[in-house]
């Protein structure tokens, strides 16, 4: 789906965060946020605003900027600050038509609550885990939502709205170093409160989750023996032997329809 011309005048804001490599832990462009920026760039390349709240790691910010944006906005705040009230204040005055976020941050609590809190505070509708934004006509956007198992769902939503971008969205373009260094960062110091609740938490490196053991609850030796040696269980299945192929095929089709895999 190619966005039509009217979409070019859309105001889109992408929220970006400092990502983290899952193995080395090195700071990087967050996957989902980069996809959100990519989606924003295809929607409107001149009206896209990139927004970050926090201390703003220079190399990471520049790697987002290297995707081809002339500037970005940085709401400067300490590491322990709460981003939501700051964002709400800013977005109330600089309201975009579409606000794009990732589904989950790559570091910290990673609760995935941010888009929901913003949507609730701003009173906008929210569509989660989108893969694509299609045409935008008369203040209604056609959105493609990513479902589990590679499925997609079409959704229409009224502007302005918040959308969290799934990993199924188009891959972000490469970041070019030079343009990233030359682009401008608008610093704006803001006075946001600290995240008080979080200061009471204890953080530790992730422990390995214990694997669930298969507990054999058999009471007798005969049951235990059966549990240890049993082959493919079940046996309660229906078997159609004598029916004609047409009847058999109908039975299979009925099951497929009942399970909802054949529509």
């Amino acid at each position: 789906m190619q966005p039509d011309l009217s979409a070019k005048s859309l105001k889109v804001t992408s929220l970006i965060s400092v990502g983290q490599h899952p193995k080395s832990g090195r700071a990087r462009r967050a996957e989902q946020d980069a996809r959100a920026v990519e989606l924003g760039l295809t929607l409107s390349d001149d009206q896209l605003e990139m927004l970050h709240v926090g201390s703003g790691d220079k190399t990471v910010m520049r790697s987002y900027l290297g995707m081809g944006l002339p500037k970005m906005t940085l709401l400067k705040q300490g590491d322990r600050g709460d981003a939501v009230p700051v964002l709400c204040d800013y977005l109330a005055t600089h309201a975009p038509d579409i606000l794009l976020t990732g589904v989950r941050a790559e570091s910290g609590e990673a609760s995935g609550m941010l888009p929901f809190l913003l949507a609730e505070k701003l009173g906008w509708p929210l569509v989660s885990r989108i893969a694509e934004i299609g045409e935008v006509n008369d203040g209604v956007a056609e959105v493609l939502q990513a479902l589990p198992r590679g499925q997609r769902r079409a959704i229409k939503v009224r502007l302005p709205f918040v959308a969290s971008v799934d990993n199924a969205a188009a891959e972000p373009r490469q970041s070019a170093f030079g343009p990233g260094q030359r682009a401008g960062i608008n610093d704006m110091p803001v006075a946001g409160g600290d995240d008080v609740v979080r200061s009471g938490w204890e953080e530790s490196p992730a422990r390995k989750k214990p694997k669930r053991l298969k507990v054999v609850k058999a009471k007798t030796a005969a049951d235990r023996f059966k549990a240890a040696t049993a082959k493919a269980s079940g046996g309660g299945g229906k078997v159609l032997k004598k029916e004609s192929p047409a009847e058999q095929a109908q039975a299979v089709l009925d099951l497929l329809i009942e399970e909802g895999v054949v529509r």
Binding site: A154, E202, G234
Partner: protein
Amino acid sequence: MSDLIRRDPRTEWIARNRLHPLHGEALFSTSGHPVGDVRGPSGLLRKNPHGVGFIGPNGIKRIDRLAIQLGESGPQGGQRRGAKAAVEVQLPLVTVESPDFYVVAVLDMVGGRLTGHDKDVLGQGHKLVAATEGKGAVVAVTFGDSKEEGFDKAGVDRLIQFRGEQYDGYSPEQRVTALEAVERELDPEYWLFPDSIAGGQELGCRLAARLGERPATQAWQVDAFTSLCRGGSQRIDISRETPRLLLLGEECADQIDETRHEAVVIELASVPASLSRIEDCGAVDVDPSQVPLGEAEFILSAGNGIHDWDQFHQAAETLRATEGASRVAVDDGFMPRHRQVGATGTWVTARVYVAVGISGAIQHMQGIGQCDKVVAINSDAGCDMVKRADLSVIGDSQQILAELIRLVESRQQGGAEDAA
């Protein structure tokens, strides 16, 4: 009669000889106790091993510890096996009358059935009930039509089902409104959601934002005081106080499997309709061959019993199924390697798996262990795949597939005419 105790050597002798036909009676008259459990001199309950069991047909003593055939047909070898299979153990029923508080679990119900994750969440619910003072009930909330019959065995004390077209498809706004109604009516002690991509995470976050709660997310070790939550990129654990609203990770707690629960349906007074700014335009057709095998929902899998490969591909296309194959089909060059299902191929998670001409070797079965419904199309009624399958049709794969293609095509044409 004199008070002298007289021994009866003959009875004693019979009591020692367990093969004697009068052994049971002799044992009773010498010990003076009924056969079986005997109160010993110190007051302990003693089992008399000579008193239990029966003599099998070949003269060997047998003890049936399953205690199934007590009072039943008796020790006839052939009949007993059938009797054993028929008896299903009735789990003890747990009832909660007028509970003091509720723990509400909102379930994913993928395809209308409880997922493993849902059952973990219900198990966690019971853990929290046990750790809290007073009598509590675990309430399950489901949306849309359900095909589940095992609510009672999964630990559901109370059940709230929201049905109707306003809850179909993608309807998060209406669902949150419904959950708010639950909040007003039951005032739950805890709200539990599966932290899953099947909808639980979204709904939990929405409700948390609406109620102004700060949820514990990806929580994987929860008790009444502290919760251990996984942080970003799975790299940190956060230990925090247990909040009222929790989004639980997979395998957070043991599932309920030793008790039955009432699963009493609760009707809510009324749920207001919410203003919907999101319209669901339905599922979009995705090319099933583009879906990775491990993720596919519906797989049509081919084995050595397929002789017409063009027909098989056509069947997969008409059914809109992702193609899979057994190792033989791959080794013989009919299917690419990345389509192989099984121990050395892909472990699939399909909800529906149709195995055409696959015998069900153990290496193949390992790969389909997580599948919900298995359909076997095979010419051999005795093969292992038929034993595993929920529905098996015995016949020639070529004929059955041809019929299936014909049926689906006529159905699609019928549907198209209806729509026109």
